[in-house]
Symmetry: C2
Subunit: 154 residues, 2 copies
Protein backbone atom coordinates (compact mmCIF):
# COMPACT_ATOMS: atom_id res chain seq x y z
CA UNK A 1 0.00 0.00 0.00
CA UNK A 2 1.44 3.34 -1.02
CA UNK A 3 0.12 6.91 -1.17
CA UNK A 4 0.87 9.78 -3.50
CA UNK A 5 1.90 13.15 -2.21
CA UNK A 6 2.27 16.31 -4.27
CA UNK A 7 4.46 19.28 -3.34
CA UNK A 8 2.48 22.33 -2.21
CA UNK A 9 5.45 24.68 -2.46
CA UNK A 10 9.17 24.77 -3.09
CA UNK A 11 12.15 26.14 -1.19
CA UNK A 12 14.26 28.96 -2.56
CA UNK A 13 17.41 29.12 -0.49
CA UNK A 14 20.98 30.39 -0.75
CA UNK A 15 22.03 26.93 0.45
CA UNK A 16 22.52 24.67 -2.56
CA UNK A 17 24.41 21.81 -0.95
CA UNK A 18 23.76 19.12 1.60
CA UNK A 19 26.30 20.27 4.20
CA UNK A 20 25.44 19.36 7.76
CA UNK A 21 25.67 22.42 10.00
CA UNK A 22 25.12 26.15 10.53
CA UNK A 23 21.51 26.52 9.41
CA UNK A 24 20.50 29.02 12.10
CA UNK A 25 20.85 32.23 10.09
CA UNK A 26 19.82 30.85 6.71
CA UNK A 27 16.88 32.78 5.30
CA UNK A 28 14.79 30.98 2.70
CA UNK A 29 11.55 31.48 0.81
CA UNK A 30 8.75 28.94 0.65
CA UNK A 31 6.89 29.71 -2.55
CA UNK A 32 3.43 28.21 -2.98
CA UNK A 33 2.78 26.06 -6.01
CA UNK A 34 0.65 27.77 -8.71
CA UNK A 35 -2.22 25.46 -7.69
CA UNK A 36 -2.66 27.61 -4.56
CA UNK A 37 -3.52 31.25 -4.19
CA UNK A 38 -2.45 33.50 -1.34
CA UNK A 39 -5.54 32.66 0.71
CA UNK A 40 -3.79 29.43 1.74
CA UNK A 41 -1.41 31.62 3.82
CA UNK A 42 -4.09 33.98 5.28
CA UNK A 43 -3.45 34.58 8.96
CA UNK A 44 -0.06 32.90 9.03
CA UNK A 45 1.69 36.10 10.07
CA UNK A 46 -0.16 35.92 13.42
CA UNK A 47 2.19 33.05 14.30
CA UNK A 48 5.90 33.31 15.08
CA UNK A 49 6.95 29.86 13.83
CA UNK A 50 5.96 27.19 11.34
CA UNK A 51 6.66 23.51 11.02
CA UNK A 52 7.83 22.67 7.52
CA UNK A 53 7.56 19.14 6.12
CA UNK A 54 9.62 18.59 3.03
CA UNK A 55 10.86 15.86 0.74
CA UNK A 56 14.63 15.35 0.79
CA UNK A 57 14.53 14.68 -2.92
CA UNK A 58 18.29 14.50 -3.45
CA UNK A 59 18.63 11.44 -1.27
CA UNK A 60 18.99 8.39 -3.49
CA UNK A 61 16.14 6.00 -2.56
CA UNK A 62 18.52 3.09 -3.01
CA UNK A 63 20.67 4.50 -0.18
CA UNK A 64 17.86 4.71 2.36
CA UNK A 65 18.64 2.97 5.66
CA UNK A 66 15.94 0.66 7.00
CA UNK A 67 17.77 -0.73 10.01
CA UNK A 68 20.44 0.80 12.25
CA UNK A 69 23.50 2.92 11.49
CA UNK A 70 25.99 5.15 13.24
CA UNK A 71 24.76 8.78 12.94
CA UNK A 72 26.94 10.68 10.46
CA UNK A 73 28.98 7.45 10.19
CA UNK A 74 30.69 8.37 13.45
CA UNK A 75 31.88 5.04 14.78
CA UNK A 76 32.37 6.57 18.25
CA UNK A 77 28.60 7.19 18.42
CA UNK A 78 26.28 4.25 19.03
CA UNK A 79 24.58 2.15 16.39
CA UNK A 80 21.02 3.48 16.44
CA UNK A 81 17.90 2.72 14.44
CA UNK A 82 16.89 4.99 11.61
CA UNK A 83 13.79 5.98 13.61
CA UNK A 84 15.97 6.91 16.61
CA UNK A 85 17.91 9.48 14.60
CA UNK A 86 17.05 12.25 12.14
CA UNK A 87 19.42 11.31 9.31
CA UNK A 88 18.37 12.15 5.75
CA UNK A 89 18.63 8.65 4.28
CA UNK A 90 15.41 7.45 5.90
CA UNK A 91 12.28 5.71 4.63
CA UNK A 92 10.02 8.19 2.80
CA UNK A 93 12.81 10.83 2.97
CA UNK A 94 10.59 13.35 4.78
CA UNK A 95 12.35 16.20 6.57
CA UNK A 96 10.76 18.22 9.35
CA UNK A 97 11.92 21.45 10.94
CA UNK A 98 10.56 24.34 12.96
CA UNK A 99 11.48 27.68 11.39
CA UNK A 100 10.93 31.29 12.37
CA UNK A 101 8.55 33.33 10.24
CA UNK A 102 10.27 36.43 8.88
CA UNK A 103 7.37 37.61 6.73
CA UNK A 104 4.41 36.46 4.66
CA UNK A 105 3.90 38.25 1.38
CA UNK A 106 1.16 36.82 -0.83
CA UNK A 107 2.26 33.33 -1.89
CA UNK A 108 5.77 33.76 -0.48
CA UNK A 109 6.62 32.79 3.09
CA UNK A 110 10.08 33.87 4.23
CA UNK A 111 11.58 31.88 7.11
CA UNK A 112 14.82 31.67 9.06
CA UNK A 113 16.54 28.45 10.11
CA UNK A 114 15.10 26.04 7.54
CA UNK A 115 17.53 23.17 6.87
CA UNK A 116 16.30 22.41 3.35
CA UNK A 117 18.35 23.17 0.26
CA UNK A 118 17.29 25.20 -2.72
CA UNK A 119 14.68 23.45 -4.85
CA UNK A 120 13.38 21.19 -2.08
CA UNK A 121 9.70 20.21 -2.56
CA UNK A 122 7.54 21.16 0.45
CA UNK A 123 4.76 18.78 1.49
CA UNK A 124 3.11 20.82 4.23
CA UNK A 125 3.37 23.95 6.34
CA UNK A 126 1.75 23.96 9.78
CA UNK A 127 1.66 26.81 12.26
CA UNK A 128 3.48 26.10 15.51
CA UNK A 129 1.15 26.07 18.48
CA UNK A 130 2.64 25.97 21.93
CA UNK A 131 0.27 23.19 22.98
CA UNK A 132 1.98 20.87 20.48
CA UNK A 133 5.32 21.14 22.29
CA UNK A 134 6.54 17.98 24.03
CA UNK A 135 4.81 17.51 27.37
CA UNK A 136 6.76 16.57 30.49
CA UNK A 137 10.46 16.09 31.12
CA UNK A 138 12.72 15.77 28.10
CA UNK A 139 15.61 13.38 27.71
CA UNK A 140 18.01 12.67 24.85
CA UNK A 141 21.31 10.76 24.61
CA UNK A 142 24.69 12.53 24.68
CA UNK A 143 25.47 11.71 21.03
CA UNK A 144 22.39 13.64 19.89
CA UNK A 145 23.36 16.73 21.87
CA UNK A 146 26.89 16.54 20.46
CA UNK A 147 25.61 16.08 16.89
CA UNK A 148 23.30 19.07 17.18
CA UNK A 149 25.90 21.42 18.68
CA UNK A 150 26.53 23.44 15.50
CA UNK A 151 23.44 22.45 13.53
CA UNK A 152 21.35 25.56 14.08
CA UNK A 153 24.26 27.87 14.86
CA UNK A 154 24.52 31.06 12.84
Amino acid sequence: MTFEVAPIASVHSPRKDLSDDFWGAVQAEIILDPAFDESAFFGLSDFSHVEVLFLMHQVNPAKVETGARHPRERMDWPLVGIFAQRGKARPNRIGLTRATIVKVDGRVLTVRGLDAIDGTPVLDVKPWMDEFAPIGAMRQPAWATELMRDYFRD
Copy 2:
Protein backbone atom coordinates in the same frame (compact mmCIF):
# COMPACT_ATOMS: atom_id res chain seq x y z
CA MET B 1 5.20 15.99 -10.06
CA THR B 2 4.17 13.59 -7.32
CA PHE B 3 6.01 11.22 -4.99
CA GLU B 4 5.06 7.91 -3.49
CA VAL B 5 5.24 7.28 0.22
CA ALA B 6 4.79 3.94 1.94
CA PRO B 7 3.70 3.48 5.55
CA ILE B 8 6.51 2.31 7.83
CA ALA B 9 4.17 1.39 10.67
CA SER B 10 0.56 1.55 11.77
CA VAL B 11 -1.20 2.91 14.84
CA HIS B 12 -3.07 0.64 17.24
CA SER B 13 -5.18 2.85 19.46
CA PRO B 14 -8.29 2.64 21.63
CA ARG B 15 -9.49 5.74 19.76
CA LYS B 16 -11.45 4.65 16.69
CA ASP B 17 -13.14 7.93 15.81
CA LEU B 18 -12.16 11.36 14.58
CA SER B 19 -13.35 13.30 17.64
CA ASP B 20 -11.46 16.50 18.28
CA ASP B 21 -10.30 16.67 21.88
CA PHE B 22 -8.87 14.92 24.96
CA TRP B 23 -5.90 13.12 23.44
CA GLY B 24 -3.53 13.69 26.36
CA ALA B 25 -3.94 10.36 28.15
CA VAL B 26 -4.47 8.20 25.08
CA GLN B 27 -1.93 5.41 24.93
CA ALA B 28 -1.28 3.90 21.51
CA GLU B 29 1.11 1.45 19.88
CA ILE B 30 3.11 2.18 16.76
CA ILE B 31 3.82 -1.20 15.21
CA LEU B 32 6.51 -1.39 12.56
CA ASP B 33 5.62 -2.78 9.18
CA PRO B 34 6.93 -6.34 8.55
CA ALA B 35 9.46 -4.80 6.12
CA PHE B 36 11.41 -3.54 9.18
CA ASP B 37 13.05 -5.42 11.99
CA GLU B 38 13.51 -4.15 15.51
CA SER B 39 16.91 -2.65 14.69
CA ALA B 40 15.04 0.34 13.20
CA PHE B 41 14.05 1.26 16.79
CA PHE B 42 17.47 0.62 18.42
CA GLY B 43 18.31 3.37 20.87
CA LEU B 44 14.91 5.02 20.73
CA SER B 45 14.31 4.45 24.43
CA ASP B 46 17.17 6.88 25.20
CA PHE B 47 14.76 9.63 24.13
CA SER B 48 11.71 10.86 26.03
CA HIS B 49 9.62 11.96 23.03
CA VAL B 50 9.13 11.23 19.35
CA GLU B 51 7.63 13.16 16.48
CA VAL B 52 5.17 11.02 14.57
CA LEU B 53 4.23 11.80 10.96
CA PHE B 54 1.13 10.01 9.80
CA LEU B 55 -1.34 9.91 6.98
CA MET B 56 -4.88 10.98 7.92
CA HIS B 57 -6.24 8.33 5.62
CA GLN B 58 -9.90 8.75 6.55
CA VAL B 59 -10.05 12.29 5.22
CA ASN B 60 -11.75 12.25 1.84
CA PRO B 61 -9.27 13.76 -0.65
CA ALA B 62 -12.20 15.49 -2.40
CA LYS B 63 -12.88 17.40 0.85
CA VAL B 64 -9.36 18.78 1.20
CA GLU B 65 -9.25 22.57 1.62
CA THR B 66 -6.75 24.41 -0.57
CA GLY B 67 -7.62 27.99 0.37
CA ALA B 68 -8.97 29.46 3.61
CA ARG B 69 -11.62 28.26 6.06
CA HIS B 70 -12.83 28.92 9.59
CA PRO B 71 -11.09 26.42 11.92
CA ARG B 72 -13.60 23.79 13.09
CA GLU B 73 -16.18 25.75 11.08
CA ARG B 74 -16.40 28.22 13.95
CA MET B 75 -17.66 31.38 12.30
CA ASP B 76 -16.58 33.43 15.34
CA TRP B 77 -12.97 32.48 14.58
CA PRO B 78 -11.21 34.17 11.66
CA LEU B 79 -11.02 32.86 8.13
CA VAL B 80 -7.47 31.47 7.96
CA GLY B 81 -5.48 29.69 5.30
CA ILE B 82 -5.13 25.93 5.43
CA PHE B 83 -1.38 26.38 6.08
CA ALA B 84 -2.13 28.74 8.99
CA GLN B 85 -4.11 26.05 10.83
CA ARG B 86 -3.65 22.35 11.62
CA GLY B 87 -7.02 21.04 10.37
CA LYS B 88 -7.16 17.51 9.00
CA ALA B 89 -8.61 18.31 5.58
CA ARG B 90 -5.31 19.66 4.23
CA PRO B 91 -3.27 18.98 1.10
CA ASN B 92 -1.36 15.69 1.44
CA ARG B 93 -3.32 14.89 4.65
CA ILE B 94 -0.16 14.54 6.74
CA GLY B 95 -0.57 14.74 10.51
CA LEU B 96 2.27 15.56 12.88
CA THR B 97 2.41 15.27 16.64
CA ARG B 98 4.93 15.04 19.43
CA ALA B 99 4.20 12.09 21.74
CA THR B 100 5.76 10.78 24.92
CA ILE B 101 7.57 7.45 24.72
CA VAL B 102 6.12 4.97 27.21
CA LYS B 103 8.22 2.01 26.10
CA VAL B 104 9.96 0.41 23.17
CA ASP B 105 9.63 -3.35 22.89
CA GLY B 106 11.04 -4.89 19.73
CA ARG B 107 9.00 -3.60 16.79
CA VAL B 108 6.37 -2.00 19.05
CA LEU B 109 6.69 1.59 20.25
CA THR B 110 4.14 2.60 22.89
CA VAL B 111 3.40 6.32 23.17
CA ARG B 112 1.10 8.66 25.07
CA GLY B 113 -0.73 11.62 23.56
CA LEU B 114 -0.82 10.61 19.90
CA ASP B 115 -3.84 12.13 18.12
CA ALA B 116 -4.11 9.47 15.43
CA ILE B 117 -6.94 6.96 15.31
CA ASP B 118 -6.65 3.20 15.19
CA GLY B 119 -5.33 1.95 11.86
CA THR B 120 -3.62 5.19 10.85
CA PRO B 121 -0.62 4.62 8.55
CA VAL B 122 2.61 6.09 9.95
CA LEU B 123 5.06 7.71 7.52
CA ASP B 124 7.94 8.47 9.85
CA VAL B 125 9.07 8.49 13.47
CA LYS B 126 11.77 10.94 14.51
CA PRO B 127 13.30 11.35 17.96
CA TRP B 128 12.65 14.75 19.53
CA MET B 129 15.84 16.68 20.07
CA ASP B 130 15.69 19.83 22.16
CA GLU B 131 17.69 21.75 19.56
CA PHE B 132 14.78 21.35 17.10
CA ALA B 133 12.43 23.32 19.37
CA PRO B 134 11.33 26.72 18.05
CA ILE B 135 14.01 29.35 18.61
CA GLY B 136 13.16 32.77 20.02
CA ALA B 137 9.90 34.27 21.24
CA MET B 138 6.68 32.44 20.38
CA ARG B 139 3.44 34.02 19.30
CA GLN B 140 0.09 32.58 18.23
CA PRO B 141 -3.38 34.08 17.77
CA ALA B 142 -6.10 33.81 20.43
CA TRP B 143 -8.28 31.48 18.34
CA ALA B 144 -5.49 28.88 18.27
CA THR B 145 -5.06 28.97 22.04
CA GLU B 146 -8.82 28.60 22.48
CA LEU B 147 -9.02 25.73 19.97
CA MET B 148 -6.21 23.87 21.72
CA ARG B 149 -7.59 24.27 25.24
CA ASP B 150 -8.89 20.71 25.60
CA TYR B 151 -6.99 19.06 22.79
CA PHE B 152 -4.27 17.37 24.80
CA ARG B 153 -6.20 17.31 28.06
CA ASP B 154 -6.51 13.96 29.79
